[in-house]
Every structure is written in C-alpha cells, then in structure tokens.
Assembly symmetry: C2
Homo-oligomer: 307 residues x 2
Amino acid sequence: MRDINIKNKDGLNEREFLESYVPGKYKRPSNTVDMLLFTVDDVIVVGKDPDKALKMLLIKRGDHPFLGTYAIPGGFVNIDEALSDACYRELKEETNIDSVYFEQLKTFGDLVKRDPRMRVISIAYMALADKTNIKPIAGDDAIDARWFTVRKKFISSNNSGIERVDTYNITLVSDDEDIKIGYLVTERFVKNGIISIKVPSYEPLGWSQDQLAFDHIDFVNCAIERLKNKIEYTPIAFTLLPKYFTLREVQKLYEAILQVEKPLSRANFRRKIKKMVVKTEKEKLTSGRPAICYMFNENWEHSFFDE
Amino acid sequence: MRDINIKNKDGLNEREFLESYVPGKYKRPSNTVDMLLFTVDDVIVVGKDPDKALKMLLIKRGDHPFLGTYAIPGGFVNIDEALSDACYRELKEETNIDSVYFEQLKTFGDLVKRDPRMRVISIAYMALADKTNIKPIAGDDAIDARWFTVRKKFISSNNSGIERVDTYNITLVSDDEDIKIGYLVTERFVKNGIISIKVPSYEPLGWSQDQLAFDHIDFVNCAIERLKNKIEYTPIAFTLLPKYFTLREVQKLYEAILQVEKPLSRANFRRKIKKMVVKTEKEKLTSGRPAICYMFNENWEHSFFDE
DNA sequence: ATAATAGTGTCTATAAGACAGTATAAC
DNA sequence: GTTATACTGTCTTATAGACACTATTAT
C-alpha cells in the first residue's frame, strides 16, 4: 500500500514537496488542438442521381503566419482545459454544431519548426458529422471558412525490389470552385527492423493555386487513411448520414471515402452493409424505382476505444 | 500562389511579423513522452515446453509525486526536440536498446490534474522489442527498473439493454514476484450519437500491494487493446521474436498478447501464420519432435502508417 | 510403449467477389 | 416501349473454425 508520508531525499513528504514545488524554467512547447471536420455531400451528375463527395472544413487564416492561406481549424489548449473540451470549444467556435462523433487522430510534433513563431505540438482530432446537422458557420477569428472536397487519387506504385514507393494526388477544391489546392504525395515504405513503415512526403502540384498552412497536408493525408481503414470495421460511416438513408447513399458514401475509381459491386455491398442497418417504412424518390429508407441498427455489435 | 509580402492588419509582412512576435504570456501545459516498452519472455511450465508471457518495463519513481511507486518510463520533451527523438532518448536512457519498433499510442490530456505538480499532457508511445535485443538496464534517473508480466483477464459482461458494461482484471507482477499490482477495469459502452464508445475506469484491487503512478494504468490498458487489435492485421508480433523462431513460439506469443484463456487451435493458427513466414534449415529441440525454425517473410504484403 | 510435441488433411460454415437476373418508378 | 434506378439470387473462391490424423523425438 502506498505510504502517504514517505519522504524524498530532501526529507519532504508529498504534500510538502508539492507546496514547495516551483515549475522549472524549462521552455515549454505550446499545444494546439486541430480539428479535421469531415462531412459528405451530394454531387450533382447530369441525367443521373447524385454521387457523394467527402468534404472537410478549412478556414482562411486572418494573420501571420500563413496569412491568407487555408488551414485546419484549431487553437491553443488552455492550461486548465481537458483536450476533448478544447475540441468541443473549437468546434463550437467554428461551426454551430449540435453533436458530432470525434476521435483523436494523431499528435504532430516531429517537425520542430512546424510553426515559424515557436515550437508547437498539435494534437489532431477527426470529427464526423451529417451535413444537415451543421449550422451555418459563424466566422469567429477566421476571416473565412469553407467546405473543400477532398480527393486522394492513386497515381503510381514502384517497387524497386529494395523499397516500394507509391504516389498519389491529394486535391482540395472549395465548394464554389474558387480555390483549388493540389499536392503530390509520395509514400515510401521504409524498413524499420523487419517491418515496413509508410513515410509520406508532400510536394505542391504545379497548377495548385495555394497551399495549406503549416504541415496541415500531412494531417489531411493521415485522416483520409484513418477514415479508409476505419469504415471497414466500424460503423463511423453512419455518423456522416442523416437518420434515414437509402442503401445507395451508403454505397456512394463508402465510395467517396474509399476514394475508389470505379463503383463497388452493388449486390455485394448491400449484402455486407445490411447487417448494420434496419429497414423502415419510408421511401425516397429517385429517377427510377423508389428506394427503401434504412436506419442504423444500434444493436449491431461494435465497440472501440476513443483513440 | 502564396504572396510572400502580404501584410496583416498591422501592416506587417510575415518576416516583420515574426521578428516582432513575442510568445504570449499564456501558461503552457508541459509535455512528456512516455514509452510503454513491451517484450515477451518464456514462462516455465513443469513437465512441458515453455509458454510465453507479455512483459512491460516499469521504473520505480525516485522523487515525488508518487515516490516509490512504479511508472511508465518517460520524460519531458525538450523545446527543440522532435517527439520521436525524445522517444529514442528516453529508450536509450532506460534500456540500452539497439533497435525497436515503436509507434504513437495516444495523447493523454483529458485529465487536467494527472500530475499534481502542474498540467502535463503526455504523448504515449508503444515500443516492441525481442528480449534478447535489450541490454541490461542502466538505472539512470530511475532508482529501479523491472519487467512486469501483464495480464488482462475477462471477468464479466453485463448488458442491461441500455448499456453494456464489461469488467476485467489487469495484473502486473514483477519478474521476481516481489511486486503485485492489480486493478479492476470497468469498460462502459457509452452512446455518443448513434455509436458506442468504450469508456474505461480503474479501481485498485483489494490485494494490490501498490498502484501505478499517475493515470498510467489507463496507458497500459490502452496499449493492451492496441496490441490485441494490431497483431491481427499487421506483422508487429514478429518484432517481439528473435530472427529464428518456431511456429509454436509464434502461437504462444499470440496467445499471450490476445490474453486468451484456452489455447488457439494449432492447425488453424499455423495455416494463418504461414503466409507471413519462410522456412529455414534450422531446427529447435523440444521435449518432443524437433521443430522447424522460421524467419519473417519480408515480402509479405503489409503497410501502415506510423500512427 | 508412452509422453510430448511437430506437422498435415479435410469437412463445414461463412464471407467475398463476379455476374446475371427481376422489379418499379418516370417519361 | 426506354431509361434509370432498386433489389435479388446464385455460382465460385477464399478464409476460418472444428477436429482427426500422422510424424519424430526422448525416456
């Protein structure tokens, strides 16, 4: 059992130690939480029913550094504020959002000069919400906030025998098509002992009108990969849909997140997804036969850490 | 394209802004990296060939707070130090380790009073190494460092219809059996919108001689779950084995990490694992028929982010 | 021979991919 | 009718679990 009166080398017990404790004069990094807010939205296709596209919220920076460029919304963590409270606060400031699913994505702190002002370690979170749930964006400290369509397109894969290198393009296009940002992503598979780890690097494309602030393109790439993996074994996809939805909508959503070139097989996809949903009485009109509406099946076995 | 001379509301361009920038007087949290170092080791079973057990390194704290209790090794992040460099440094200080696999586990910062001295946000990493690779531990700032066998045992599952609650015991026993630490882990499945998130809480068991420092038991639980998930779809298990190993050893390793009550089916396990390994000429003597030694198959398709 | 372990073969249930079919709406 | 969509059935292949079998060593 723990002894409450145990003394350290200076002869102090824990209470005495804490009363005399002076936080060191060491310089501390600053901490931010950055929030990658994703949603999906319809994309009109002439003569057809709509597709879906993955979108994320970016804000235009109102001051240096990276003044005028787009960035992932975020802000400094207050000294007495829980990380997830900082997330809620940031989300509330940027959107007037009701309820979202969010999870910790990754902490970015390997680049010491991520921010030219000072050392900043950023704890990135990923939030998912149905677009109908998101109230109009109140421009708070950001001078502008916009939805960008996110695409990650496979370009090439090269296996030299020693090392595999895959390349992709990530493009971010604002809803009004005003702003188009594009990167070449190079993913090297670097051996660390016996296993290979994917190490991405980023290069703006020639036509790219702008760049993301800081190293935020790395955040975006990371989140895309996490989403792609996680929709395969968790029900997070349904957090991006309204209460009632058709199976077509679920499939278009999966296709948007998985960044597929050609559609998934309809029959097989439906069979797989049907375990997670329940039929309702509602129908939705289409340009063909009306579709049955479904709801998420809350009894579907799933469980995971908020990590 | 980005305009290098764009001026902010004070009429400064980015260079001028940075030159005049004074970091705010806001109080900053401190950042630590904590490293959960895992290995597996043989467990002697009388009259049989050995089993394997999952072990982790803990250090005895030499000062307040939590003086005399065991903690996950870690330390403060230097202002100009990359997070992964801080990990390497910590590992080097605690063990004299050659090469390890490590990945970011999670950042712990929801508890504002994790550390009674001040606000500390801890970025936890998980490292895996073959025990034969780890040189004797040089007691640096820690007054003692020991290997603890880690077990997470399922106790009960209760589904009230509204909410599911699972309970487990996590036990940590030092190699010399001197120190035995035990917790009751309660995992509630809390609805967040449509999906359920696992929320764990911890209570020391009555017989527990000690407790882990800070909220480190949460780190341990998180790492166990990550390990359990990740050995199913990545080859990280092989980072815990020497270059040559038998299929029995791989199976015992999986059983230790998966915390199974009864052994996995041998034939099925072998079929599954054989895709990841290659046969060698070596043999290993057992108390029965000698076993063929295998190596990890480096051409086995696998890839993942260092996240 | 017996004990202990290594290693294999096969049946079955389930899931995943390919593909072709039928159904119902608008026009 | 045609077009566009919804929805279903079935064949094939791959994988996972159950379980029984054979092989090789030491004692």
